[in-house]
């Protein structure tokens, strides 16, 4: 058990971590991630980039749903806004990627006000339904605003270069995704330790009590909407860079479910949980594919024929099992293990 661990200044209290060991492992992890592209093939790299994009999306949703307690089923809508902003700016207006990528986040943040302001009076299930409605309305607008979005034809996204590097394939794409992931994680971690983060948690725990204590609900709820959608919008833009083509089929309802599943199974309200959950969910379909390839008849086409259904069932099962047996998620396992060892031999 750790003893004599006194915090004497505010700085020490709000430090990201006070443990040299944690810092050491974090640096080792980042170094490993930086070196990874030199040891893996193209396929693994694609998977890693998809996983990183999912992580960014989950970290963004976690701010809204995990930290502030506003349930959103509109993740796919915000991602679509980000992806389309990026695609339209790059392809139709020739804007360089270092401008269009942040603009995607900014546009998504402002669009989130359109759903955020009418939702101020709502919470819980009603909010979930409004955000769901919002996602469908966004899809509809994209489909019918031909002049801007090319409607059902979609938009090809090509030519994202920075300093002569092609940001849409290979190592540059990986490093871009990794850098943005680290930025998103740092943003979420830092926000959660400030006045803003504490206000969000107060709203989540009891909004009326928070109001009584002087938390401005309107301002902080809208800020949560905007921050979350900014991050989600950037992840959508990154997705458009990776797949090089956007149309509304990419942003189906299942994306919203996937993001919610990720933060639930990681552990609601925890940034590390969101990262773990997203990572787990990104590799889950791959694990299913491999296990089918290993154990089932190799000529069977069940996985390729029903890839969406199998993924859907897997997400559903994961959501149900975790909510029932481990409501604090993957991060809960980590906390249990840590408590066991740090309190040993007085462990429960």
């Amino acid at each position: 058990m750790r003893t004599g661990d006194y915090k004497e200044t505010i700085g020490q209290l709000v430090a990201l971590s006070d443990s040299a060991v944690v810092w050491g492992w974090t640096i080792a992890l980042i170094a490993a991630l930086l070196l990874l592209p030199f040891f893996m093939g193209a396929y693994t790299q694609t998977l890693m980039v998809s996983a990183l994009i999912t992580i960014i999306g989950a970290v963004g949703l976690n701010i809204l749903t995990g930290t502030t307690g506003l349930i959103s089923l509109g993740q796919a809508g915000f991602m679509a806004v980000g992806a389309y902003t990026n695609a339209i700016l790059m392809t139709d207006h020739g804007v360089p990627v270092w401008v269009s990528l942040p603009s995607a986040g900014v546009v998504a943040a402002f669009v989130s006000l359109v759903v955020g302001i009418p939702s101020l009076r709502l919470k819980g299930l009603y909010l979930a339904i409004t955000t769901l409605a919002f996602a469908f309305i966004i899809n509809h607008i994209i489909l019918y605003a031909d002049a801007l979005t090319h409607g059902p034809n979609g938009i090809f996204v090509n030519g994202a270069t920075l300093f002569g590097l092609d940001l849409q394939r290979g190592k540059p794409l990986y490093y871009l995704a990794l850098g943005l992931t680290i930025a998103a994680v740092l943003l979420a971690l830092n926000l959660s330790r400030t006045r803003v983060g504490r206000a969000w948690m107060a709203i989540r725990d009891h909004d009326i009590a928070a109001r009584v204590m002087g938390v401005d609900l309107v301002r902080y709820k809208l800020f949560a909407f905007m921050t979350s959608s900014f991050i989600v919008g950037v992840s959508g833009a990154l997705l458009s860079l990776q797949i090089r083509f956007v149309n509304i089929d990419v942003f189906a309802f299942i994306l919203s479910i996937e993001a919610l599943a990720a933060i639930i199974l990681g552990g609601l309200g925890s940034v590390a949980g969101a990262v773990l959950g997203a990572l787990f969910l990104s590799f889950l379909p791959e694990a299913i594919r491999l296990s089918i390839a290993t154990f089932a008849d190799p000529s069977s086409t069940i996985y390729t024929d029903y890839v969406y259904e199998i993924r859907g069932i897997a997400y559903g099962v994961v959501i149900v099992l975790f909510l029932r047996f481990k409501p604090d998620g993957l991060i809960g396992f980590w906390r249990d293990a840590r408590r066991y060892w740090s309190d040993w031999p007085l462990a429960y």
């Binding site: 009076r121 009603y126 769901l132 309305i137 019918y144 009326i208 299942i254 149900v320 909510l323």
Partner: protein
């Protein structure tokens, strides 16, 4: 004028589906306080089961329903026992997320069993056209509207007069107090799921006959949300009235405002209703005490 009458009549038919599905939502919400996001999937699953039964037994519509409804009720009971019951006492958010998970699972299972091709399902209903006041209706469309009227009346009578119905309203009003007066809350929850699945079976079969039986039928569940919100989440009769109104609004929006608006008119209505009157037309207003 004929155009308007046609729009209203098609609107009433789609609205009847929304109403039926919405009644299922409202029953579960009323008794258990949970929005069942898997209601659309329940409708789809029971419709496919009715399809298989019709193929195997070759029954006409009413005998088919006599077989399909009890099976659906059993499915509702099983789902409640396996997925929802163990979550009793957890936060509402968790239970709702379980229904979201359940929804995705059911959606996948239906495609794995029945494939993704649309199927033709006649359910033994003749394709005769009947004209009512100059507006033509298919027989199946009349069945749909008739089913909505009948089930609304039955549900209202059930909630108003039957012992179980009164108990269900007691649970809705105050779960702990109902438990203290000797109502078995567990059983009421199970009953709500069974009744909701029964309504889902009828809604699913009739929808499939009128339109088509395809794995995107679950989407009708999401499209029925506007009906429930408009009627008030905890009002079963409200859901059926709300369904008809939403159906007509969608149809008019499509006819007069522009193509494609049919798909989102309902969702626009949701946002407007939630801003002006969040508890709907017939719902009871929540008063939060700190």
């Amino acid at each position: 004028m004929a155009f308007l009458a046609l729009l209203v009549s098609t609107g009433l038919v789609t609205g009847a589906t929304y109403g039926l599905i919405g009644m299922g939502f409202a029953l579960i919400y009323k008794a258990t306080g949970v929005v069942n996001f898997a209601q659309g999937e329940l409708v789809m699953l029971t419709a496919y089961i009715a399809f298989s039964l019709a193929g195997a037994l070759g029954l006409s519509f009413f005998p088919l329903m006599l077989v399909a409804v009890p099976i659906s009720m059993a499915i509702g009971l099983v789902l409640e026992r396996v997925f929802i019951r163990p979550m009793l006492g957890e936060p509402v958010f968790s239970i709702v997320m379980v229904t979201v998970g359940l929804a995705v699972i059911l959606r996948g299972i239906v495609v794995l069993i029945w494939g993704s091709e649309p199927l033709n399902f006649a359910a033994g209903i003749a394709t005769t056209v009947v004209a009512i006041g100059g507006v033509p209706f298919y027989l199946a469309q009349l069945y749909l509207i008739g089913a909505l009227a009948l089930l609304t009346l039955l549900t209202w009578l059930f909630l108003r007069f039957s012992r179980f119905g009164v108990a269900m309203r007691a649970v809705a009003a105050n779960e702990t107090a109902a438990m203290l007066t000797g109502v078995s809350v567990d059983r009421i929850h199970a009953l709500a799921w069974m009744l909701s699945s029964a309504i889902a079976a009828i809604a699913g079969a009739l929808f499939a006959v009128n339109y088509k039986l395809a794995p995107d039928l679950w989407f009708q569940g999401l499209k029925s949300f506007p009906a429930v919100i408009l009627g008030g989440m905890d009002s079963v009769v409200g859901a059926s009235v709300g369904g008809l109104i939403i159906g007509v609004i969608e149809s008019l929006a499509q006819g007069y405002l522009g193509e494609g608006l049919r798909d989102i008119a309902g969702f626009v209505v949701i946002i407007v209703v939630l801003m002006i009157r969040p508890f709907g037309l017939f719902g009871s207003q929540d008063i939060e005490r700190v």
